[in-house]
């Protein structure tokens, strides 16, 4: 804080009305003034990066620890790499990530099949428990989907004639 005080001494009245009690984030934040020291703090040892790490453009360096689960791969990985070329302010960052998430669902299905595993989609979606407690709702949902499917089917047939 002293460094800051000295820096602005030439401005008449600088800081004279500052009220340390007027801290809207308290008690969430115990204001110490350390914010003005920015990045001067003792850091932990750096975790070694053993996987490909996509880091925010808004950081000067990677964080001291990080998650290593599911590194980017395949088509979704390429989309994620593109996303991380843009800052978090840009939709060019977030929209590609959402697209990559959806692409990776299909990649996941292909990976399952490639490894000889046929996913039990009904079990993964918890339909058993839905049927147990919400038969009416489930029948309604299936009937709605079937009706919409039928309409689309009839409409496309008519169009093709």
């Amino acid at each position: 804080m002293d460094i800051v005080n000295e820096k602005y001494q030439h401005i008449p009245g600088w800081g004279m009305d500052a009220d340390p009690e007027n801290e809207p984030t308290y008690p969430m934040k115990n204001y110490t003034g350390d914010d003005h020291n920015r990045n001067e703090y003792e850091r932990a040892e750096q975790q070694k990066a053993t996987i490909e790490l996509l880091s925010s453009k808004e950081r000067p360096a990677i964080s001291r620890v990080f998650g290593t689960t599911v590194p980017p791969s395949g088509c979704s990985g390429a989309i994620r790499r593109y996303a991380f070329k843009h800052s978090e302010d840009k939709m060019r960052h977030w929209i590609p990530l959402i697209i990559a998430d959806r692409v990776q669902v299909w990649e996941g299905l292909l990976d399952d099949l490639r490894s000889g595993y046929i996913p039990n989609i009904a079990a993964e979606r918890g339909w058993k428990v839905e049927w147990k407690y919400n038969q009416k709702g489930m029948i309604k949902k299936v009937a709605t989907i079937a009706a919409v499917g039928l309409v689309i089917c009839l409409f496309s047939r008519k169009k093709s004639r």
């Binding site: 998650g67 599911v70 979704s76 996303a83 977030w94 996941g108 299905l109 039990n120």
Partner: protein, 383 residues
């Protein structure tokens, strides 16, 4: 080891995965004894959070037993029973030093807009979560807290998120004695926020939701007034009416990005994903609070943008206060509330499910079946 595995929106299963390893000298490996499904996990489950990668393990509410510690860990030893705050925090950066453990700068390299959270997408750090038999816990000297010997393990697991988040919602609301508090959302967090609001001395606590069994539960558990917004054409008008046409002193958004009740918000936010989810609860909070009032947000929204009436925030002079709960900061006070019997978090638990049945547990919670309030997953290795 067995772990929950995300396969895409509405699709999860359990799978055998490699054991987690110490990757940093301050890591610990925890054998999970209890782990909850959080309401915010449903945002991941529904595919609402960007960079939720297929193959990830969710779960940020868990307790466990220390199995292994890294060479620099000093405060924990093998065999300790710990509750693990959902935030991953270094304890040293300028944010942690100021008590903002939910905003640590040294645990999430993927995003600066979000702190780091176990099992909550790569946007929140890309760490595997606790819905597994074992989990890697970074900065083990900072977050994990040894569970007091006389504490019920079900209470302990709810101290990792639900209780601190509910409490901080009330704390941030700056409730004064005699105030009227309106909580939007009667999920576990909303119910806990309504219960914790009383610690600050309001005269009325009102909870708003659309699910009758949850409202009934909230009314009994949090001793508050409960109203179903479906019974009222205009919930904002209703709140004005019951607050002498003045507005609530404080409003708490405990819903987040999957709120119902406004077709435009639902369609643009949840169906088209043109905004970071549906911000109906926040819109109602802003419009229901009095001029000069406070809106406290703990409902989770994604990093992109949302449509909210920001002009009303300005013109009404509203203060918005929001954050991920700073669990570590609040734990001493909340452990005391629980141990003294003032708070009984475990009463929220309605379902206990083996980890193996994680798909059914998610569906049960997501579809709000069987009067579900809170689901705890129990790994078979817990003994």
């Amino acid at each position: 080891m067995l772990a929950m595995n995300y396969r895409g929106p509405y699709r999860v299963r359990t799978e055998q995965r490699p054991m987690p390893e110490i990757q940093h000298p301050e890591d610990a490996i925890i054998r999970v004894t209890r782990t909850c499904i959080c309401g915010s996990d449903l945002h991941l489950y529904h595919g609402m959070v960007p960079d939720t990668r297929v193959g990830s393990t969710f779960g940020h509410e868990f307790t466990g037993i220390v199995e292994e510690v890294g060479p620099l860990v000093q405060n924990l030893k093998v065999g300790d029973q710990v509750l693990v705050p959902f935030n991953i925090a270094c304890g040293r950066c300028n944010f942690c030093k100021q008590g903002l453990y939910g905003n640590c700068h040294e645990a999430n390299t993927m995003s600066t807009a979000v702190g780091s959270i176990f099992g909550y997408s790569h946007t929140a750090g890309g760490f595997d979560g606790g819905q597994a038999e074992y989990v890697r816990v970074p900065y083990a000297d900072v977050g994990p807290t040894v569970i007091p010997a006389d504490m019920d393990p079900d209470d302990a697991v709810l101290l990792t998120d639900v209780v601190p988040t509910g409490y901080q919602a009330a704390e941030m609301a700056g409730i004064k004695k005699g105030d009227t508090v309106v909580v939007f959302g009667a999920g576990p967090i909303g119910i806990m926020a309504a219960r914790c609001a009383w610690f600050f001395g309001p005269s009325r606590v009102i909870i708003i939701d659309q699910i009758d069994y949850r409202l009934e539960f909230a009314q009994n558990y949090a001793k508050c007034e409960a109203y179903n917004f479906k019974d009222y054409e205009d919930p904002v008008l209703f709140i004005k009416k019951i607050t002498d046409w003045y507005g609530a002193d404080v409003c708490i958004d405990a819903v987040g990005c999957e709120a119902d009740g406004n077709p435009v918000q639902t369609f643009t936010g949840r169906n088209l994903m043109m905004q970071a989810g549906s911000a109906t609860a926040l819109q109602w909070a802003i419009n229901s609070v009095k001029k000069g009032g406070i809106v406290s947000i703990v409902g989770v929204y994604g990093p992109p943008f949302n449509m909210i009436p920001i002009g009303n925030v300005l013109n009404k002079g509203i203060t918005i206060r929001a954050n991920q709960a700073s669990v570590k900061r609040l734990l001493p006070k909340l452990i005391d509330h629980v141990q003294s019997g003032r708070l009984n978090p475990k009463e929220l638990i309605t379902h206990r499910v083996p980890l193996e049945e994680v798909s059914d547990a998610y569906r049960l919670f997501s579809s709000k079946l069987d009067n579900c309030i809170k689901t705890v997953l129990i790994p078979s290795t817990k003994a």
